[in-house]
Amino acid sequence: MTDEEKKRHAEMNEIELVIGHVLRVGVITAAIVIILGLVLALITGKTGYPTDTFPTTFTTIFQGVLAFKPFAITMLGLFLLILTPVLRVVVSIYAFAKENDQMYVWITTLVLVILLFAMWIGYHG
């Protein structure tokens, strides 16, 4: 390995540590929320919704969480889990920018744009 490659690799380790931290916080938060909803459902024996139904829109999940409905809390946790990879992409853009890696700022931004486009299709399709 050349000196420049070694330097680049050391920089990469720094970026990866930041991303690792973000992933950890995101995943643990999502897991706690999911477990909270499940435990609440197990204790009360109720999901907060009629049999075989659960909230799937931002509005109904938000209202359900405020009313402390178990399955609304679980759905919020599942949504947070879905967001963790998206969050990782966002943090990667910042990390690459901090390391002055212009090319990978653009590559990673492109990935984020594609992801946002996918979400848009999911919500409206």
Binding site: G20, L23, G45, R88, I107, I114
Partner: protein, 281 residues
């Protein structure tokens, strides 16, 4: 409800451990177990499995990041292909008959397991690619990792970027269509086509699966295919299992890892192939 939640958490734990070890998403294990084992509707199995894929990816990546096996630039660059493929796959789901897709998917996996057997016979030890490639130099994809099993720092170069990129598009397409992480395809793209060593390939594949799955997961989330009582206990079980699995993986030799991986790949392929003809086992 308590029993089914505990059972699903156990299924998740099992899927998480094996998913992380082989670099395949929990989804590849979860969907057959839920549909064939527990007789669940395929629609909800796919919804739960996409959550499983994200949980495996995020859970396993935490451990990999600490161990410096991941190639983040390779992951980011190839994610352009996987996410575009995943969107197209999600859109195509309603158009193409899923039977045909199961058959094609199964055939490719069976071919891949045969290809891995051939490779294992040709070279006893894992060869590290050291040939310089113009495109991978330009994209700064070459890297290094510390191999715990052989206690050596391994420098490697990445080959055939266009080939790997095309394979990743296919992997994303399959992910969007079937609600799987397509980890096997991703490992093949990096390990077989781009000549990356198996361990960084598995680690990078695990991280990429989460981003690919997030694209299709939003669709499943908003159309009601993600049932909280199924997906939630699975996700928790998988998170714990994936963390354990990535720990176990570092202490195995690359050759042993492959030997375990080949029959797994073959059986999943056979199962998917037969499912396309309406045969389940």
């Amino acid at each position: 409800m308590i029993n089914s939640i505990l059972l699903l958490a156990a299924v998740g734990l099992f899927a998480g451990i094996f998913g992380a070890i082989f670099g395949i998403g929990g989804g590849m294990i979860v969907t057959p177990v839920l549909t064939i084992g527990l007789g669940l509707d395929i629609k909800y199995a796919i919804g739960a499995s996409i959550i499983a894929v994200i949980a495996t990816s995020s859970g396993a990546s935490i451990a990999y990041l600490k161990d410096d096996m991941l190639n983040l630039r390779v992951a980011m660059f190839l994610e352009i292909a996987t996410t575009v493929g995943a969107i197209l796959g999600a859109v195509l789901t309603g158009v193409l008959p899923s039977k045909a897709l199961f058959v094609l998917f199964g055939m490719l996996l069976i071919f891949s397991s045969w290809n891995m057997v051939r490779k294992l016979r040709a070279s006893k030890d894992e060869e590290v690619n050291t040939k310089t490639d113009m495109l991978s130099n330009k994209l700064q994809l070459n890297s290094t990792y510390y191999d715990q099993a052989s206690k050596k720092q391994v420098d490697y170069k990445v080959a055939n970027v266009p080939g790997g990129f095309s394979m990743m598009f296919g992997a994303g397409l399959a992910s969007g269509l079937l609600g799987v992480g397509s980890g096997a395809f991703k490992v093949i793209a990096m390990d077989t086509i781009m000549k990356m060593p198996l361990k960084p390939s598995s680690a990078t594949s695990n991280l990429m699966m989460g981003v690919t799955a997030a694209a299709s997961a939003t669709v499943y989330f908003f159309n009601g295919s993600i049932k909280p009582e199924i997906a939630a206990p699975l996700a928790i079980g998988i998170l714990v299992g994936a963390t354990l699995g990535s720990r176990i993986m570092q202490h195995l030799q690359a050759k042993l890892l492959r030997k375990i991986f080949i029959p797994v790949l073959f059986l999943i392929g056979l199962q998917m192939f037969l499912k396309g003809f309406g045969v389940s086992f």
